[in-house]
Symmetry: D2
Subunit: 394 residues, 4 copies
């Protein structure tokens, strides 16, 4: 079983995570993680803080000469500006009188609900953890998962498909083109024309002291049939992926394959027929299901989309109420991004990677990478035989 816990406040000393259950012998280097951390910090529409941080992972345990030991992997990412917050966020010592508590909860954040839940007088105690800064950990953890999936030939890819009201048009764009365009886009969007409009929309929102959300898509190639399970509700792959994506800061909707659109069409236009050809074996001519039927991956690409609400912190802030005085006031401005959808798409990629790695570990187990891969190959051979596929397709 793969599992992890993570810790760290936004302006504390660092972020941490411990991953337990990795196979031994997996090649892993900080560069594998840092490339994702860097991408998370990019994207047109980010504010000042992103420029400050250049996140780098450190491995405190579980790795030796760039090979996992099978022991718990500890990751640490320093908060680069923590020095400036030392007095405010000190783990130990007396609270300095200068450290003013946050008592005005920001609408759209966990500030009020979290403060009430944990009975905090200083709302900073909660907001520091609820912050999207935590997603750096998820990206790092997901980066480890990516390495494992790569060994199985599974590739997870995300891109931005809408910002505000601007939708990308991607019909007929092949996967290699999609990837290349995404990599060269300041918004991780594979439709250059839409990207241009998205940038204008972001600029307009900024000028209006407003913010924008959007939708990103995650695609996964090379997924074998049989991840997840239909036999028990809490093992269904769609449920696990959707739950994990919805747990990401700012996400308010998740859909798979045709998603909400499938609720509007007739059955014959929604389900994917099963076909056979001598060279492909049993195959699907379409993938409206998004690669999951009955809670089980069906061998087609996974396709998921997540809707992100606009960043709640507005330069022209909403009304709030001070929990001490009960006076209404304008909410504080803790950061100044206009749009974080590109960053969220990177986190979404990491989240999907983690869940898939967990599903792969659940099915193929093994304490060393060699053992895992052997089980994986045996299974694929058997599947290909059942599906009437020649060896060239494995």
């Amino acid at each position: 079983m793969l599992r992890y816990l993570s810790g760290g406040e936004s302006h504390g000393r660092c972020l941490t995570a411990i991953i337990e259950g990795l196979p031994a012998g997996l090649h892993l280097a900080s560069k594998h993680i840092n490339r994702h951390l860097e991408r998370r910090q990019q994207g047109y529409g980010r504010g000042g803080r992103m420029k400050l941080e250049t996140d780098r992972v450190e491995f405190l345990s579980g790795l030796r000469f760039n090979r996992t030991l099978g022991t718990p992997l500890t990751l640490k990412i320093d908060n680069k500006d923590s020095e400036n917050w030392r007095e405010v966020m000190s783990p130990e010592g007396e609270r300095n009188e200068d450290v003013t508590p946050v008592t005005l909860p920001r609408p759209g954040h966990a500030d009020l609900a979290g403060g009430v839940k944990y009975a905090r007088q200083d709302l900073r105690d909660g907001l520091e953890r609820a912050s999207a800064r935590e997603t750096a950990t998820r990206v790092a953890v997901g980066g480890v998962a990516v390495r494992l999936l790569e060994e199985m030939g599974i590739e997870v890819f995300s891109h931005v498909i809408s910002i505000g009201e601007v939708q990308a048009r991607l019909e007929g764009v092949s996967y290699p083109v999609l990837k290349e365009r995404r990599d060269h886009s300041s918004l991780f969007c594979a439709d250059p024309a839409a990207e241009e409009k998205m940038r204008l929309a972001i600029d307009a929102a900024k000028n209006g002291e407003n913010t924008l959300g959007g939708v990103f898509e995650v695609r996964v190639k090379g997924v074998p049939p049989g991840l997840g399970s239909h036999v028990h509700w809490d093992r269904k792959l769609d449920g696990r992926l959707a739950g994990a994506l919805m747990s990401l800061q700012g996400i308010k909707g998740v859909e798979i394959g045709m998603g909400f659109a499938s609720a509007e069409r007739q059955g014959s236009m929604v389900h994917d027929p099963i076909n056979y050809s001598p060279d492909k074996g049993i195959y699907r001519p379409s993938n409206r299901a998004g690669g999951i039927e009955g809670g089980v991956s069906n061998g087609e690409d996974l396709i998921l989309r997540a809707a992100m609400k606009p960043i709640p912190t507005l330069l022209s802030p909403l009304t709030s109420v001070d929990i001490n005085t009960l006076n209404e006031d304008r909410a504080a401005v803790e950061r100044s991004d206009v749009c974080a959808v590109p960053a969220a798409s990177v986190v979404g990629e990491a989240i999907v990677s983690w869940e898939l790695a967990a599903a792969v570990k659940e099915k193929f187990a093994g304490d060393s990478l060699e053992e895992m891969l052997q089980s994986y190959r045996f299974y694929l051979e058997k599947v290909n035989k059942t599906l009437g596929r020649g060896k060239e397709n494995s």
Copy 2:
């Protein structure tokens, strides 16, 4: 911690579930469960099987004189037509030669992926469990959760808001009216005009040997702020609710509050301001967040929507391939519902109830109902004080 496991094949002898972690002293009777089971079987657009079954729960353990004992609660629901399937589904004994294996997987189901995963030659081995028949268990388990939530004054309510392309219009409909209309609707839809069109759409689909999906909404009233948690990704209430809903058969999309629409609007139109008035204390003039901010319930009504794809089994079936002969053929017709969205809405209500009950147990614990309620009341008092609410609002 509340947990449960469930078992049972669609045409096996019965469905079962064991719930562990319930407080002792909760009033519970089969009628509390059967009312939900009955609703699950209703809804215009269901086929013959629904008429056959009249599901009834039996308690095999954990209950005495209609009070929970705090011990595991075992639920059993007999499959009413299991007698006819005795030979086909016999747990023990030789397989009769007359029992023909299913070798033609149905598109849109787990048949193929599940069969490959579990290495079954007879696809019935998998489809019997992947079947939506399993949702009767989820409704029963959810019915137990409803009883617990009722003690806390938490009310979970679902209704159908679209079937195919027909959308209900519910602006300005008050909650009491919504409930009453839903209860008198053959489609659990609170817009009578839309309901009429939905029935016509179902009839048209039936005539065209087709099927329809739709969208249902779940609302929860009386939720205290502070369920779920922002401190760790796997404890976020939105993630847990979305994951559980997406694990329901046929669901391809889940959204909370404004959901996907929030991705299109500017921040100032999405987030809910925080206001104060002497009689309400701290309150929200709007609820676009759907009652969850930062993974934590914020005290407003929970609002979730789930999109269901059309039933995959078509009277005019899609192409499939026999896994033995590799010949293409028309998929088998295992059941003949045209639309199951009303039933799904009942299951969705049960699923949300279960997840909320688990969140309530996590926060308030207690081995007896009395102990739980005492913790609950103490917390509410404290919250109301923080939010500047008078005693009359608790």
Copy 3:
């Protein structure tokens, strides 16, 4: 992951369990379970109830033509005398005035602590579940695990090694002889001379209106090296086995290998050297560790012992206090066994079987038996190569 939940009160209608995570394709029949259930009911020194019950398992889900489906397996064992308790233990309906509550807690049972914890006025609400009747479920669940382990060539065996002050002497008794003698012993003890004395001790205790405990040993043959793990405290095989055994009713001590005796000796007399011979490969000339080093199975036989206290219910009962009147009184006599160590040894065998099956599933995973066995064989081949063993030793 293998997991299960169980339910059922001692005088309720039945006992139940749902096992989730079994591979598909495992051959399983009620006779495989009933043989263990029968053994649990045997043993010199049991009272009247054991004669009444002839436990039989029924499979309510997860099995078809004696092959597991990979879906949750539901087990049910009827309580044979439940008819006589129908009024007392009725799940639903009004409590009959004739049903007198139990208010005098029995020393040595969970009656008082459990009653207080769950806030029960009638202590029967708790004692019905705390009863050793529950162990029938554990035996049934363990019987399923035994079937899985058999496929891997792993054999779990238990025998009684002491009753009261009488100790079996088993030095130099070979494993086949041990098994045969155990099977022919009325106390599951492989030393006939000791068995005779044990029977006399039981008779004497009975005459003195007293009870006796004892110690049983569980041995496991065919365990591969590498079950459990040293990498995280909660994955250690010794911890998991000891915890599971200690959770059995009446157990007050557990030891592995030399156990407590190892605390008295010098290191050179406790640890097992590692040797090599061309025909055996790397091997151990001794097995003082009981097959586990550092929380990992080392390939030697597992050897565990558990100490059972005497049955608490005495014909000449201890003093207790009525929780209503606070008057002291003699505790009630709910059953009349003198010694249940033989039965406990059967349960211990089942418990160890379950934990090992869980550890096997964790390491080898696989959704079908074929897949599991393939991973298992691949691993064994690799291990044998590392340990310098020829093919004849695999």
Copy 4:
């Protein structure tokens, strides 16, 4: 739910742990942890490494001004001599040719079984984590638990009761005297006469190039009745405590209350009567059960004992076999303690503290300390009333 993961190799850079589920508002400082870490490093019979290390905890997250935030608490303990091992244990970079792999597994350790399981060529990859160095983490984590238990008035105390064949005699020693003597003993043993003999035994073992084990006892005062549960096997307090203790390096036996001795005596001499007196309410005149009946704490002191085998690494080492050459050789000497039972007693105290804190959190939940304590007090009041205790006893 309280949970934690830990990481760290013995000669790596540091040890880490993340604890999730702590209530907010708990007072916590490094001194609370360091006092336990220091005690773990003491004890007559330790070798050179203990002098080198002076373990100190650092809080990387979850704490602010010495109050927990309710967010995950990250602990870090640096390995003081890691500088000397930098080249050998480098997480990243090429393996230096000078870094010779360990290929001779040490008897009594996880070296061989762990190496085979994880398919490691250099056994150091496994032994670094299996090392008892990991217990520093368990002590630190347990130290946090101690702080929580202190708030509930629960006190966990351990002491050494035997080293090799030398047994402490403690009949009639009161708890305050026990504590004081333990604190002034170089072996954490409360019998000064026995301590003297234990030191001589350790000296003798050292001269003989041998090692010694022993037994420690953990006592817990102030435990309320009702921790753990009889309703499901995996919730029983005895099972959880025993499993956790057995997972400690070197432990081969665990017993509760009378333990193995209870298997030899008649029932009337083993079970604890239940008595009443107007001033004590319902009480027990004896505590042979060690505070747990039926898997539930009964309100008496918890009493557990654990048997530790002698340290496996002998100055005069046992035979082993090189896994590359298959040649027999003398095992390597990685460290040189003669006896680690005093240290183990400190770890045992921490382990029991953690499990109890988890059981307390399970029963009383609460996201803030205030909320937890409120539930706790309400429950105690109720219990005292049931047990006929006056307010002065609460």
